[in-house]
């Protein structure tokens, strides 16, 4: 057995994970594993809970994307209790949801994944972070970022009650509306968000697209896979974060499936491996062929680039322009360049901002008709939204009294489990040769998962961040010291 390299913990994502790299005798990568070591058990410990508590309980699957869970859960409740919300409630939900997409996508670009480009992939570890970004872009721009996130999160907090773990979702509506003063205040923020989203895309252009090395990295082979793609689209096949049909396209962009949330289990199945707590979803109709890409493999991807690949257009005009530029630079749709997820994320942030303006300009948003009370007996409900990190599925079954008897969750990053494992292995094989290992190269391996903006607490709906383990190797990749935290 050859030498082993461990990256532990991986950083600048939500959740914990570790990467194990095994070298052959030449010092090249033989195999790499991307392990997710968490499990909490939401699907089990929610059993026996009343259905209407689920939007608040499942929000705690993730404190970075609680609004996604809250919304998927609320929609599952609509289905469970067979009740449609009034139009005002839908507008309010969508407003909160788009505010969330906007601020979360910006969190990822500037705080989590972006530093690799803004500061540099092999910059010193102490600088590869938001503080390094602030030093690079200056306090003025940093101030703008912080302010716009604070203000859009304030929209979520005002309507949702809390921004970390909102409370307002109910079957058939919401608990709270807005008045005209709030609406005007939010409209001003929404318009500023559009401006900021455009600025972020410009920054991406200046920092990344004008840098030949970065462009080579993006279109290069180390960071790409030809997979299927999944995401929500509206009747016109435009990107929609909140509702409508799930669409799946093959690696050439042909539609292979289009289904209602209620039918998700006909299309998706999950595999289990002994080396990770995460499960590995795949397309049933294509079949599980292992950790390989291509048309014959059921592996598929979700999240920003996937959503752009799956759709035919964005739903808002400025975002549509940005999308067209993205595909023209990348050589058409679908694009398989994993690093381009960072770019697609910013295009989506622009749509989210534009959509907020549209919703706030709709006069019905200040009506107080915010709830239709259910009268049916509950039994089964499924709700799907597009979380920032991918398609999010909440499936509940209850007794007649609305207490949960079965919960199945397939959570965003979960869908990307196999692709991430594949991306890590491919990047490791491409970057580590002849036993040459250093912090910069290892960070570039980690860069293979960051575009997915993973959320491992989500993906395993598991609570259990795990601990740290470090193997120190000499320059041959040989482990000379192991520091381990054992149970």
């Amino acid at each position: 057995m050859g030498k082993q390299i461990t990256i532990n913990p991986i950083t600048r994502l939500e959740g914990h994970g570790k990467i194990e790299i095994f070298l052959d005798d030449q010092g090249d990568v033989e195999r790499a594993f991307f392990q997710v070591p968490e499990i909490r058990g939401f699907e089990t410990f929610c059993l026996g809970r009343p259905s209407e508590e689920m939007p608040r309980i499942t929000a705690r699957i993730c404190g970075v994307c609680p609004t996604a869970h809250h919304m998927a859960s609320t929609k599952a409740l609509d289905d469970l209790w067979k009740v449609e919300p009034p139009r005002t409630a839908k507008l309010l939900r969508e407003l909160v949801y788009n505010a969330f997409m906007f601020e979360d996508h910006n969190l990822h670009f500037f705080f989590l994944g972006g530093p690799d480009f803004i500061v540099g992939p092999t910059a010193p570890a102490a600088e590869r972070n938001i503080l390094g970004v602030i030093a690079k872009v200056g306090l003025d721009i940093a101030g703008k970022l912080i302010k716009i996130r604070r203000e859009t999160r304030n929209i979520i907090e005002t309507i949702g009650g809390k921004v970390i773990h909102p409370v307002f979702g109910l079957p058939g509506g919401v608990s709270r509306g807005i008045d005209e003063d709030e609406r005007q205040k939010f409209l001003a923020v929404a318009k500023e968000s559009v401006g900021f989203a455009q600025f972020a895309l410009q920054a991406f252009d200046d920092i990344v697209l004008k840098n030949k090395d970065y462009v080579d990295l993006i279109v290069g082979d180390a960071y790409q896979h030809s997979t299927y793609y999944m995401g929500l689209v509206d009747e016109e096949n435009k990107v929609n974060f909140y509702e409508h049909m799930v669409r799946v396209v093959d690696p050439e962009g042909n539609e292979v499936a289009r289904f209602e949330p209620q039918d998700y289990a006909d299309y998706i199945a999950e595999r289990v491996e002994p080396w990770s707590y995460i499960t590995f979803p795949y397309l049933k109709k294509v079949g599980w062929k292992g950790f390989v890409d291509g048309k014959d493999s059921g592996v598929y991807r979700v999240a920003p680039l996937a959503r752009l690949n799956v759709s035919e257009a964005m739903a808002t005009p400025l975002a549509q322009e940005a999308r067209e530029k993205l595909f023209s630079v990348l050589g058409g749709s679908p694009s398989h360049h994993t690093l381009a997820f960072h770019w697609a994320r910013l295009v989506e942030a622009l749509q989210a901002a534009e959509r907020m303006v549209e919703l706030l300009e709709d006069n019905e948003i200040i009506s107080d008709d915010i709830r239709n009370l259910p009268t049916a007996t509950p039994s089964k409900g499924i709700g799907i939204v597009e979380a920032p990190r991918g398609t999010l599925i909440h499936h509940y079954e209850t007794d007649d009294n609305g207490l949960l008897t079965m919960v199945n969750l397939i959570v965003s990053t979960n869908h990307n489990a196999a692709p991430m494992a594949m991306s890590i292995e491919k990047a490791a094989k491409a970057l580590i040769k002849g036993g040459v290992v250093n912090d910069g190269l290892l960070n570039m391996v980690e860069m293979a998962f960051r575009p997915y903006d993973p959320c491992h607490a989500c993906a395993t709906h598991a609570i259990g961040h795990w601990p740290l383990l470090a193997n120190i190797h000499d320059h041959h990749g040989k482990v000379i010291k192991t520091v381990r935290k054992d149970g």
Binding site: M1, P9, T11, R12, L13, G15, H16, F22, R31, F33, Q35, P37, E38, I39, R40, G41, E43, T44, F45, C46, R49, P50, E52, E53, R56, I57, R60, C62, G63, V64, L77, F111, L112, A125, L131, I134, R150, E157, G161, V163, I164, V167, F168, S175, A265, E273, W275, S276, T279, L373, I410, I463, G464, W466, P467, L469, I472, V483, K485, G487
Partner: protein, 322 residues
């Protein structure tokens, strides 16, 4: 003079406490000017070896969030305890057990079976399970062991202060950080939040009757809460009477009743039974049959009254299961 060193670490957590720190917004710039953040896996690339290289007590304060439910989390928090002057249990999970603590109402075997065998979308004909020491194609790997019982942070290490909430409000975080930097802290073991119950600071307080009577329970699934009247008086279960104040009543401002994330007020050893006492006592039943019917209307008492605090309850976990 060197800036004091601060660490943020997460155990079994959702990342919300990390977001709460980021929600300091502009204030975070003041914080990073005053302190040196030496560990924060969500945002910074510092690794285990960096912490281990420090001297004992070199970190001025570690803010640890998340419940302890994995084998290695115990080791990790013990390491931070050694390297830190102060340890603050940050957020409901480390303070009380939090939402992950609901797993103490079931078993880890049920969790694993539901997830890897019984889920409707699972395709696992060989019954594969994640293992602590799997060997895959000859490669030896490792996964942490998930305990059956979820623990609070202070069951594992000595904790100096508790910052309650799911997640703690940015204002409380800022106040706590400033107090620590100025050396103006209450006696050890304090919960850094007011000593009163939520009812006392609730905006709906005036409509809470002196003699509360609940004839029948209402559920938000099938009724709409009114935003201007005490929820208990309306018949909705609200945990305000035995929940510590300090959250700003954000849920109430969202027109939803309290679910107790700040934990019990001082003097209440067990949040759930105190709440049960208060809520049940408000019933109007005149005989056993009426009392039984009244109780039936309160579906899921354990999961509601101990929503965030099963691991800090007297019973701590269910006996049910194998």
């Amino acid at each position: 003079m060197a800036k004091p060193k601060v660490a943020f670490y997460w155990c079994a957590s959702c990342g919300g406490c990390e977001e709460a720190v980021v929600d300091l917004a502009e204030d975070i710039l003041k914080v990073v000017e005053a302190v040196d953040i030496v560990l924060w896996p969500v945002a910074l690339d510092f690794k285990l070896k960096d912490v281990e290289a420090m001297a004992d007590g070199e970190i001025a304060v570690s803010f640890i969030n998340g419940a302890v439910r994995l084998s290695e989390q115990e080791e990790w928090v013990k390491l931070l305890r050694r390297k830190s002057g102060l340890v603050v249990a940050f957020g409901s999970c480390s303070h009380l057990g939090g939402i992950p603590g609901l797993a103490n109402l079931t078993t880890i075997e049920e969790i694993m079976a539901n997830k890897y065998d019984r889920a409707p979308t699972i395709d696992n004909p060989d019954g594969t399970r994640p293992l602590p020491r799997p060997v895959v194609d000859g490669y030896e790997l490792e996964l942490p062991v998930a305990w059956n019982t979820v623990k609070r942070l202070d069951e594992v290490i000595d904790v100096d202060y508790y910052l309650p909430g799911c997640a703690p409000p940015p204002e409380s975080i800022m106040t706590a950080v400033q107090a620590i930097l100025a050396g103006e802290l209450p006696p050890k073991g304090a919960v850094l939040s007011p000593e009163k119950t939520l009812c006392e600071s609730c905006p709906l307080n005036e409509s809470k009757p002196d003699e509360l009577v609940i004839t029948e329970f209402k559920r938000v699934a099938t009724s709409q809460p009114k935003p201007d009247e005490c929820y208990l008086a309306q018949g909705f279960i609200c945990l305000g009477p035995a929940t510590r104040s300090g959250c700003g009543e954000r849920c109430i401002h969202g027109n939803m009743p309290c679910r107790g994330c700040f934990g019990p007020p001082p003097g209440a050893r067990d949040q759930g039974t105190k709440l049960l006492s208060a809520i049940a006592s408000a019933g109007a039943a005149e005989n056993k049959d009426e009392a039984d019917l009244f109780a039936k209307g309160f579906v899921d008492p354990a999961g509601t009254l101990y929503r965030f605090s099963v691991p800090s309850s007297i019973l701590k976990r269910t006996l049910k299961g194998k």
